[in-house]
């Protein structure tokens, strides 16, 4: 008998979940365009997220509580941060604009990008199209940087990021 394969959440699934939290009415094509992910990938992501109960059954809306719980407690373990050399790139984690009012960091993390606006320790983004987000989809960019703060931050930053994520998801709870 052939065993069923264990389904796992992929890093790009988080991007789809966050975009659907911002706009649950988004069609696959519009998610694909705003997040630089193919429509097929979006479709598969929604299927996996439903299985994980992060997206509600029969809806395309994420459970903000489930998404928050997964990101706060699971993201750092499911998607361990890959940190590299100091490079130019797009600010992420606690050096992103989402944290500007709360803290000032001289230790920047960036998604490597030759056209980046900052320089810092490089952090591999959850998906390759992330570096376009600051120009194309600011709300998704900020949510993804908050997720990165939960992956690389100190306990204090993680607490701030968890609170910030809760606030942002509550604002988008339609």
């Amino acid at each position: 008998m052939k065993m069923a394969k264990q389904i796992t959440i992929r890093p790009s699934d988080i991007v789809v979940a966050l975009q659907l939290a911002i706009n649950p009415r988004s069609h696959f094509q519009s998610i694909a365009e705003s997040a630089s992910i193919s429509a097929g990938e979006c479709h598969n992501a929604v299927r996996r997220l439903r299985l994980a109960s992060i997206i509600l059954a029969d809806e395309r809306r994420p459970s903000t509580d489930a998404l928050h719980e997964f990101l706060v407690h699971g993201a750092a373990y499911a998607f361990p941060p890959i940190v590299g050399a100091v490079l130019p790139g797009m600010p992420t984690a606690h050096s992103s604009p989402a944290f500007a009012a709360i803290l000032e960091s001289s230790d920047a993390y960036v998604w490597p990008d030759a056209e980046g606006s900052a320089r810092g320790q490089s952090l591999l983004p959850l998906y390759p199209g992330a570096t376009d987000l600051p120009r194309r989809n600011q709300p998704l960019y900020e949510l993804l940087t908050i997720t990165d703060a939960l992956r690389v931050g100190t306990t204090r930053i993680r607490k701030v990021a968890a609170e910030l994520l809760h606030t942002r998801l509550a604002e988008t709870n339609h």
Binding site: L103, T155, I157
Partner: protein, 242 residues
């Protein structure tokens, strides 16, 4: 000693220019009460970092712009002098009064009981007794809580909150201080028994935790790329927990 093994002594770095400047502004504004207060909190911790080889996250939280000043003097007496110096009380809690002065300087004035009943109160009292002096200029001297007292305060808060080591900001600060203060072991060994006991209790819990590695990786940015950094700090924690 051969040339290859000789090590030049490394001078203890002065506080960062940013911190030194902030303390100068505080000391200038609060000069009338300086001899009756001790600087504690995040600024005092930052003053104690003296190992240039250890990289800590350099983050300035908006909340950290408030200085914490401890005093065994009656707060009401200090209040009169603070008001004369142009400060105004902005809030009052059971543990501290918040004051705001010129240039936006904010400080929390914490009344320290001399008949301490809890481990945290013990630590606060020792923080006013075990101090080192920082001179932001030729005429001003700020007393700052010494390393064992700052460490014990974090350990006492950790024990009081009973959080897991992965959730505790206090244990993370303790790890940072242990990692980046070169003489911390000797200083704690020479500290009063009450403080040592508070420190040992929390560090024993930390060293026995299988999450210690994760705590070290979160607190020390270089621990991921340089496992020897985490190893050295872990060994120091284990020695201090004995």
């Amino acid at each position: 000693m051969s040339a290859s093994t000789a090590r030049e002594p490394v001078a203890a770095p002065a506080p960062s220019a940013h911190l030194a400047n902030r303390i100068l502004h505080l000391a200038t504004a609060a000069a009338p009460i300086l001899n009756r207060v001790v600087l504690a909190g995040s600024a005092a911790l930052e003053m104690l970092i003296d190992d240039p080889a250890v990289r800590l996250p350099r983050l300035n939280f908006a909340a950290d712009s408030v200085f914490q000043l401890l005093s065994t003097s009656m707060i009401d007496r200090l209040a009169v002098d603070l008001q004369k110096a142009g400060f105004a009380r902005t809030s009052r809690t059971s543990t501290a009064d918040r004051w705001r002065g010129e240039r936006g300087i904010e400080l929390d004035l914490v009344q320290v009981q001399t008949d301490a009943a809890t481990p945290r109160q013990f630590c606060l009292e020792y923080a006013t007794l075990l101090t080192h002096t920082f001179k932001p200029d030729a005429h001003l001297a700020v007393r700052c809580a010494a390393a064992p007292a700052v460490l014990a305060l974090d350990c006492a808060s950790f024990a009081e909150k009973a959080e897991s080591v992965l959730e505790s900001e206090e244990i993370e600060r303790a790890v940072m201080l242990i990692a980046a203060r070169r003489d911390i072991e000797a200083e704690c060994a020479a500290a009063p028994a009450e403080l040592r006991s508070i420190i040992v209790q929390s560090l024993t819990q930390l060293s026995a935790s299988d999450a210690l590695h994760t705590v070290l990786r979160r607190a020390l940015p270089d621990a991921g790329a340089l496992p020897c950094v985490a190893k050295r700090v872990r060994e120091r924690i284990v020695r201090m927990a004995c």
